[in-house]
Amino acid sequence: MALDVAALRAQFPLLARTVHGRRLVYLDSAATAQKPLAVLDAMDRYYRETNANVHRGVYTLAEEATAAFEAGRARTARFIGAADPHELVFTRNATEAINLVARTWGAANLGSGDVVVLTEMEHHANIVPWQMLAAERGIEIRWVPIDGSYRLDLTDLDTLLDGARLFSFTAMSNVLGTTNDVPALAAAARRAGAAVLVDACQSVAHEPTDVSGWDADFVAFSGHKMVGPTGIGGLWGRREVLEAMPPFLGGGEMIRDVRKEGFTTNDVPWKFEAGTPAIAEAVGLGAAVEWLDGVGMAEIAAHEARLTEYALGALADRFGDGITIYGPATAEGRGSAISFLFRDIHAHDISQVLDEDAVCVRAGHHCAKPLMRVLGVPATTRASLAMFNDTDDVDALVAALAKAQAFFAL
């Protein structure tokens, strides 16, 4: 069933505002998603009616707050296909989730000469934590290259994985849009005896997620990319793996007992959640995934695929060789992030001109500088589509680009 985009759009209060007197054309959902009223209301209601600290109170309000917080966890766990809510650790975002793995699992399992395999299309969040371990412990990083059609080149995958301890890769590139075959990559890692971390930060917002079917050890994501609030994200981990890991930050909540002589740790997931957590945000994230499931992730994926196909066609028809798209040329096997170089106009100039028409696109390296170097470009412009975008938004992008072309007249 096709989505009723107008009805969806109406649920996002921010989309009703104008910029420079024009209808807002928000094409930057890959950076952060806008929030539906259901999420705003859930968080507002929590603060108005339920707010108390969690896990340490006996009074009614504290019990309700704890229940709301843990319900947010359970709902989010169900959304990503986790078998057990206790396999979901709340973090601030995907970046913290990956750093948590590097600092705890990495500390216990990676030493000098141990190999971590990444891909050339990773976000800095899935690069720098490993480079920090390389600097501190002398681990080796290997890179799976991309090919001419902006997909992973798997020719030498088995060689790259040979002897590796971890394969950490993105399910969907935030620059190219490319989706990777997670089960196949995870299976290759298993054959080599490597653990698997999936950066699902982009993919969770655009297609159904079933971590149980991925055969991964860890999956990282951010709430704010999936119509939830900022300040909360998740690390899903296989229970026995999480249990074997040392704790992350130390403090309240993560302990079972503390004496002058030392401490013992709490059960998972709380072992990794030191300090007062983002409670209202957990409630908001629960509301966000409830809302996404209400719309239907399969329907969202189908709508975005159709719109991506339309956008790729419209850009090529209008600008031909004047535009270079860095990513798969059709909607097949890709998400809705469309990165491009337009004429010889710098991405910042394009973004500036588009802003006049209230068209919001991102310009820059998209926190993927190694990929930018592989592509041989300093920066790209990126338009990314979400469930509330329609062909009018794409047409507005094309018209604004034509204006930029006329303006710079190169």
């Binding site: 710098h346 910042h348 500036q352 006049e356 820059g364 930018m372 920066a379 710079f408």
Partner: protein
């Protein structure tokens, strides 16, 4: 609301489309410096030739980036060529003062004493076209990159 024409004045677009003093100089004897704006990937490379009398006898520029960074580089190179190092340094101070004037001051309000002092007696000429950049705060770094790089280059060339 500041419009695009505030930012992209015709003279700026002209320097962007047809940058002056593009190229390289053998270094040494010339001084080569690089400036980089990690946020947007703007890159400026300057080649400076300073004569024994302290005159900037030649300047060449390379690099890549947005129209503002590249136009500012081009305009800067035209402005300092043939000037003394001292004059070039005064121009740097004046240009940076121009970039630090708050938007509200552009319409005739008071600039700070330090800003006035830096601007006093300095003829900015075409460079004043870059003043509109102030209304677009994220782009100020694009405009100042060439000038910060020049400051570094002059220090290196004069052993300061």
């Amino acid at each position: 609301m500041p419009g695009l024409e505030d930012l992209y004045r015709e003279i700026i677009l002209d320097h962007y489309r047809a940058p002056r003093n593009r190229g390289e100089l053998p270094a040494p004897p010339a001084t080569r410096v690089e400036g980089f704006n990690p946020l947007c990937g703007d890159e400026v490379v300057l080649y400076l030739e300073v004569g024994p009398d302290g005159t900037v006898t030649d300047v060449r520029t390379a690099g890549q980036g947005c129209s503002i960074s590249q136009a500012s580089t081009s305009m800067m190179s035209a402005a300092i060529k043939g000037r003394s190092v001292d004059e070039a340094r005064r121009l740097i101070r004046a240009f940076k003062a121009l970039m630090s004037i708050h938007e509200s001051k552009l319409e005739g309000g008071d600039a700070t004493a330090a800003t006035e002092e830096a601007l006093e007696g300095v003829r900015l000429g075409d460079l004043e076209a870059l003043q509109g950049v102030v209304k677009f705060p994220v782009r100020i770094k694009c405009a100042t990159l060439a000038w910060n790089t020049l400051a570094q280059g002059l220090d290196e060339a004069t052993g300061a």
